[in-house]
């Protein structure tokens, strides 16, 4: 019960800060931009070619579901990662920098408990943010092209190609993939959270996290590393795309999320150890 009170307080702090809302604003603008591009005739012609080349009917798949999927595919890893790293990198380091932590340390709460509360808040923020992007993107797409239509998925890098003509099935897959992206992005937040527990500036925690993510992403693209791609964090984080396969191969998904889950726990423990052994002078 006390944990819930503490979590409520942590979320209240998180959502009372303007920088938490920056991500929401940025995604809203980006969604509007993607929709604008989708409405352009040239863009529609390109999509028509793509869909019809695969023997599908353009009218069924030029839909709000397909646009929402594209928004999530294109934006989450690049733009989303910036805001997740920013919020998770701040959560401990900024409070230490501002001196708020010493007020909390005057309370009978363990450092582990404090970190658990903060980590839970970060995970909830990350997960809910992905759903915000999905839902807001979908509503904007509905306003632009209507509710009807199925879902067309094409992700060449992960070799996923699917089509769901039925709206309900497409929507269910989209919701499932949003949950998958949410879980994947928690790993990014965990990296930033770990650095936030170290004795560094909040901005440094954010920058180091983004550096790790982008270096991982770049190296993964090298042909030399192709046989080792499953060891790259960003490859594992992309496992959510497998939820879009016509026939979901759960073994691949469970393997990827078990890897990410183990990594998250390791990152949390490393952060906790660093935090636990630190001195916080008044």
């Amino acid at each position: 019960m006390l944990f819930l009170q503490q979590l409520r307080g942590e979320l209240r702090k998180l959502f009372a800060r303007p920088r938490t809302w920056m991500g929401y604003g940025a995604f809203f603008l980006m969604e509007a931009l993607i929709l604008f591009v989708y409405k352009l005739e040239r863009s529609q012609r390109h999509m028509r070619d793509l869909v019809e080349r695969n023997g599908l009917e353009f009218g069924t798949y030029y839909s709000s579901l397909t646009i929402t999927f594209t928004i999530m595919l294109l934006s989450m890893f690049i733009l989303g990662s910036i805001y997740f790293a920013l919020v998770a990198g701040d959560i401990v380091a900024k409070e230490n920098e501002d001196g708020n932590l010493r007020m909390v340390f005057a309370r009978p709460v363990s450092r582990l408990r404090l970190l658990l509360v903060k980590y839970t808040a970060v995970a909830l923020y990350t997960f809910s943010f992905v759903f915000f992007v999905g839902i807001s993107g979908y509503l904007m797409a509905v306003a632009a092209v209507g509710r009807e239509g199925g879902l067309f998925v094409m992700e060449p890098k992960m070799k996923v190609f699917s089509a769901f003509p039925d709206w309900w099935e497409g929507a269910a897959r989209l919701a499932l993939s949003a949950a998958g992206i949410g879980l994947s992005m928690i790993t990014l937040s965990s990296i930033a959270f770990m650095f936030s527990c170290f004795k560094i500036k909040p901005a440094a925690a954010t920058i180091i996290t983004l550096t790790i993510l982008f270096v991982d992403m770049i190296l993964q693209g090298f042909p030399f590393f192709k046989p080792y791609e499953s060891w790259f964090v960003t490859w594992r984080m992309s496992a959510w795309v497998f939820l879009m396969e016509q026939h979901i191969s759960w073994a691949k998904i469970v393997e990827a999320y078990a890897f990410l889950g183990g990594l998250n726990i390791t990152l949390f423990v490393l952060g906790w150890l660093a935090f636990q052994t630190r001195d916080f002078k008044t």
Partner: protein
């Protein structure tokens, strides 16, 4: 109530505390004095479990902070110099968040405490709009909400105006008198310590150089204010008794000497003794003597 035993701490090989021990009895207001870098804040940090000592232990009401921090701090409140609240939230929300890390938030108790510290009218305003004095009142409220038996004050009156300082002092004295609260008061405002504290511990370069009652500091049994006539006739008698004249009109006698015998010798030699009174020393005089190494009663 608070027992500090053999605390040692160094930062990056540089010693900050060396074998510091002292006790604070229940219902006592204990001043912790020292210059900047003497180790006051480090001591406070160790008491709150924010800093891990290299050696030694701290216990609050018999419970070790090092081995059972949560239990030891259950009845402790703390106020820091320039308390850092969440500026973008209201005072009330700050109290709610901070109390969630103690025993939980009780809005009735919070209302009473806010009323007590005189912040009722502004408690729902954002903390960023508060003056320094209002922040200190909010700090006091958050420290009092867990109904502490021990209150740790780290330079709480710094930056307050004279009226604010007086209000704060009276409030703390009232808490001690009415609730029997124990207070550890870390400050370098000697006048404040003198007015508030029952006992003091003085730190110098990470070592405790004095622990004793404030009342006992005032009377220097060996230093006297004297009005003698003539002084040039009295001076050889003073020196013969092993004493000295540290400044005109003052006599310092050696340990164990009896001033009555000196007066007798004055009278016998025809020196008129118009007045001879022990000098009342201020805490500042005593503190400066200690830090200058001029004398160590310990």
């Amino acid at each position: 109530m608070l027992e500090i035993h053999g605390l040692c701490k160094s930062f990056g090989g540089k010693p900050a505390l060396g074998d510091v021990s002292f006790k604070v009895g229940r219902g006592e207001i204990h001043g912790l004095l020292g210059h900047n870098g003497a180790g006051k804040s480090t001591t406070l940090g160790i008491i709150l479990g924010m800093v891990m000592p290299d050696a030694g232990d701290v216990s609050i009401a018999g419970v070790s902070v090092l081995t059972n921090r949560s239990k030891a701090l259950r009845k402790v409140g703390a106020i820091f110099e320039s308390p850092a609240f969440y500026d973008y939230l209201s005072g009330w929300e700050n109290l709610r968040i901070l109390m969630s890390y103690s025993a939980g938030f009780d809005s009735r108790a919070a209302r009473e405490t806010v009323e007590l510290v005189g912040l009722s009218k502004r408690i729902h305003s954002k903390v960023r709009t508060y003056s320094h004095g209002m922040r200190q009142r909010l700090a006091l409220a958050q420290a009092l909400l867990p109904e502490p038996e021990l209150l740790l004050l780290d330079e709480p009156t710094d930056g307050l105006d004279p009226e604010g300082i007086k209000w704060f002092r009276d409030f703390i004295l009232c808490l001690r008198d009415e609730r029997g609260m124990t207070v550890l008061f870390n400050s370098h405002l000697l006048a404040e310590v003198e007015l508030m504290c029952d006992r003091v511990s003085i730190l110098r370069q990470g070592r405790r150089v004095f622990e004793g009652s404030v009342g006992g500091l005032h009377d220097d049994d060996l230093l006297f204010e004297a009005e003698l006539d003539p002084w040039d006739k009295a001076a050889p008698l003073i020196r013969a008794a092993g004493g000295e004249i540290p400044q005109p009109g003052r006599i310092r006698l050696p340990q164990g000497s009896d001033p009555a015998q000196l007066v007798e010798s004055f009278v016998r030699s025809g020196v008129r003794v118009r007045a001879l009174a022990p000098v009342r020393r201020s805490l500042e005089d005593f503190y400066m003597e200690l830090l200058d190494g001029a004398g160590s009663p310990n």
